[in-house]
């Protein structure tokens, strides 16, 4: 009886200690980031290459957009299973070698040139899509294009920073940036909206502000002339 109880106490204590160790460990140790591998959530030229190869060989039927999403993940797993590799959906050393891809430097979408008007590369499309996804999820498609267009209009406006990243990450400018929603993976619709806006579509014809009248309390923003109302957002100049 006594021995049993002691055992119980010890096991409870042990469980607690292990939990404590795990919790503190996760706070003290940074997760090891696997170097030189291509995995879910990445974007850039290398992902392009992977998608192209997989499509060529019939493993992949999604768009070749340089974004490692669910479809690419599944295709990589299929490829790994077929070729007797460890099936983990990550293009590591061995999988890359089997595909004939040189991992070398896995760059993001490339750097943008700091010119007014921004640069047109996949990195910019992706960043813009992230902002659209964070700010206008659930809005109609033109509402998404409009949000992307407002960001691009700000880049061109002397009163705002002159790069896409500068405008998006301006402190307090967008709520999705402040609360971290911008870090969600953008969906296809946001990517298409971002691309449309970069290609020159702008349903607001030059708006540089938008607000949700149900949430905005500033009398200043109400005083701006409204250009168009799309979904929940009022777009103003």
């Amino acid at each position: 009886m006594k021995a049993k109880q002691r055992l119980l106490v010890i096991s409870i204590l042990l469980t607690f200690l292990i939990c404590a160790a795990l919790i503190t460990r996760s706070y003290f140790l940074k997760r090891d980031v696997e170097a030189a591998a291509i995995y879910w959530g990445m974007t850039g030229d290398k992902v392009y290459e992977v998608q192209q190869k997989l499509k060529q060989w019939g493993y992949y039927d999604g768009p070749i957009d340089g974004i490692y999403g669910a479809k690419t993940f599944d295709a990589v797993k299929k490829f790994q299973a077929k070729n007797g590799l460890a099936v983990d959906g990550v293009v590591g050393k061995q999988t890359a070698a089997a595909m004939g891809i040189n991992l070398g430097s896995t760059s993001g979408g490339g750097t943008s040139t700091p010119s007014r008007g921004g640069a047109r590369n996949e990195g910019d499309v992706y960043l813009l899509a992230k902002a659209v996804h964070g700010e206008a999820r659930g809005e109609p498609y033109i509402g998404k294009v409009a949000v992307a267009a407002v960001i691009l209009n700000r880049v061109k406006d002397p009163r705002f920073p002159n790069t896409i990243a500068g405008v998006i990450y301006q402190p307090g400018a967008f709520t999705a940036v402040s609360d971290g929603q911008i870090n969600l993976t953008p969906d296809e619709e946001s990517l298409r909206a971002a691309r449309d806006a970069l290609n020159g579509w702008d349903p607001t014809y030059g708006a540089i502000y938008y607000y949700n009248p149900a949430k905005a309390t500033s009398s200043w923003i109400w005083s701006r002339p409204v250009h168009i109302v799309i979904g929940k957002h009022h777009f103003a100049k």
Binding site: L13, R120, Y141, F160, I228
Partner: protein, 450 residues
């Protein structure tokens, strides 16, 4: 038995308390660490801003007494660079946009104006008295700005200003009137000190360019019913299933919005029709990606035929690209064999269905007019001599290109190769100045111009 159980329970609780304590302390330290880091970034931005503005003030004051062209170029390019950096530092401060509006414009215009003067001086042209007067006024504004910033700097230095507090206030979305010192100070700068002259020059922030574009369409005002009919005809009666009223635009570009549901797989369309004259300005659709059934060349022909059918004759394709089963083509107007780039129309075609899924003619509808193109002062041969000898010219023609300031320039357009790369060089047809060089990127997704 009983007391022992009590010991066990309190033992467990004690352990739990210690764990929570350790966890909480870690959280607190981490929080403090992040707070410090963001605060440091704000401070860095602020101090850099102050530094840049001080340097600008010094350089501009030297400009006032210097008479050497070489010196001037050096100082102007310095101001240009420093004002650009100051602007980007300003954008990193956690202040409400309304407080920075004019300061930011001032820095942008100062940077841009100095760039314009640098380029002008670099071409060997003297800076005029009027331009010097403009600089003097900009200098005066700069002195005021620098003074106000120094006052703020003192406050930041002795800890009277906490960026964290300001940031927290700023985060309460767009609440009105804040009473923190920094915002007040910047608002004061806005109200009193920044008077910049109306700058007449040809740059991206020239005052003329800040005026919004206007549609150049003749005709009567139409009502919504007419707009709906125009929108349906534009997309094609056979494709449209349902039409409803969509978002209309106010302001300088006034248009009716029509939402259309189509019977094929492209989903819904938004068509914007000008209230005056009833022209379709743009078409946006959800553009759902489908497997490609037609190739890029076919899509190009579909886009061209569509423009012909809608009355946009003499349009020539300038470049195109495709993504996710959608191809976008840019067309420019041609007149007497001169290609006119400001008159731009974009057409988006679905490679799945071969249907038109996007259209954008705002540039065309604001820029297009009957132009009388003057005889160029330079002949083609004379202009060709001005092109860098390294460029292996493959084609040449006359073109009108938009300038940064919104004007139009008549140029000779030389397309050519240097090694593996393709370039387009624009030589001003009157002055022989090299106006622009573009590099053409032939990617898998089509042709891009940068």
């Amino acid at each position: 038995m009983r007391p022992r159980l009590g010991w066990i329970v309190s033992g467990i609780l004690l352990v739990a308390l210690v764990i929570t304590g350790v966890w909480g302390y870690n959280q607190y330290m981490q929080n403090l660490d992040y707070n410090n880091r963001t605060n440091n970034l704000y401070e860095k931005s602020f101090y850099e801003l102050v530094g840049h503005v001080n340097n600008i003030e010094t350089e501009l004051s030297k400009m006032m007494v210097s008479s050497d062209q070489g010196q001037n170029i050096r100082m102007l390019s310095n101001v240009w660079r420093q004002a650009e950096s100051a602007g980007s530092n300003l954008g990193q401060l956690p202040l409400r946009h309304m407080a920075l509006d004019k300061t930011s414009t001032f820095l942008s215009q100062l940077s841009d104006y100095c760039r314009y003067l640098t380029i002008k001086a670099g071409e060997g042209k003297p800076i005029t008295i009027e331009e010097m007067e403009n600089l003097k006024e900009l200098y005066n504004s700069c002195i005021n700005l620098a003074n106000e910033l120094r006052f703020l700097e003192d406050r930041v230095n002795n800890g009277a200003i906490s960026w964290q507090e300001i940031r927290d206030k700023g985060n309460q979305s767009l609440e009105d009137v804040s009473d923190d010192l920094v915002t007040k100070q910047f608002t004061k700068i806005e109200e009193t000190s920044i008077k910049y002259p109306t700058l007449i020059y040809d740059g991206p922030f020239s005052d003329t360019l800040l005026k919004p574009k206007k549609l150049n369409i003749q005709g009567d005002n139409i009502d919504y019913k007419e707009a709906e009919k125009i929108a349906i005809d534009f997309i094609g009666k056979d494709r449209v299933e349902k039409a409803s009223r969509g978002a209309e635009t106010q302001g300088t570009i006034q248009s009716w919005g029509v939402n259309l549901e189509t019977n094929d797989e492209e989903g819904s369309f938004y068509v914007s029709v000008s209230k005056k004259g009833g022209k379709v300005i743009s078409v946006i659709s959800e553009g759902i990606a489908q497997d490609a059934q037609i190739d890029y060349k076919e899509a190009e022909k579909i886009a061209k035929d569509f423009l012909d059918k809608k009355g946009y004759k003499d349009m020539e394709i300038t470049y195109g690209q495709h993504h996710d089963g959608m191809a976008v083509f840019n067309f420019a107007f041609t007149q007497d064999d001169v290609i006119i780039y400001p008159d731009l129309i974009k057409v988006k075609v679905s490679l799945g269905t071969g249907n038109i899924v996007g259209f954008e003619a705002l540039n065309y509808l604001t820029a297009h007019r009957n132009r009388s193109i003057k005889e160029p002062k330079l002949s083609l041969e004379e202009a060709r001599k001005l092109v860098n000898k390294n460029l292996d010219i493959t084609s040449e023609r006359l073109a009108i290109i938009p300038s940064e300031g919104g004007d139009e320039i008549l140029c000779y357009e030389f397309k050519g190769k240097f090694g593996e790369d393709n370039f387009i060089v624009y030589i001003n047809a009157d002055t022989g100045k090299e106006e622009d060089i573009l590099k053409i990127l032939n990617t898998d997704n089509g042709t891009l111009v940068i």
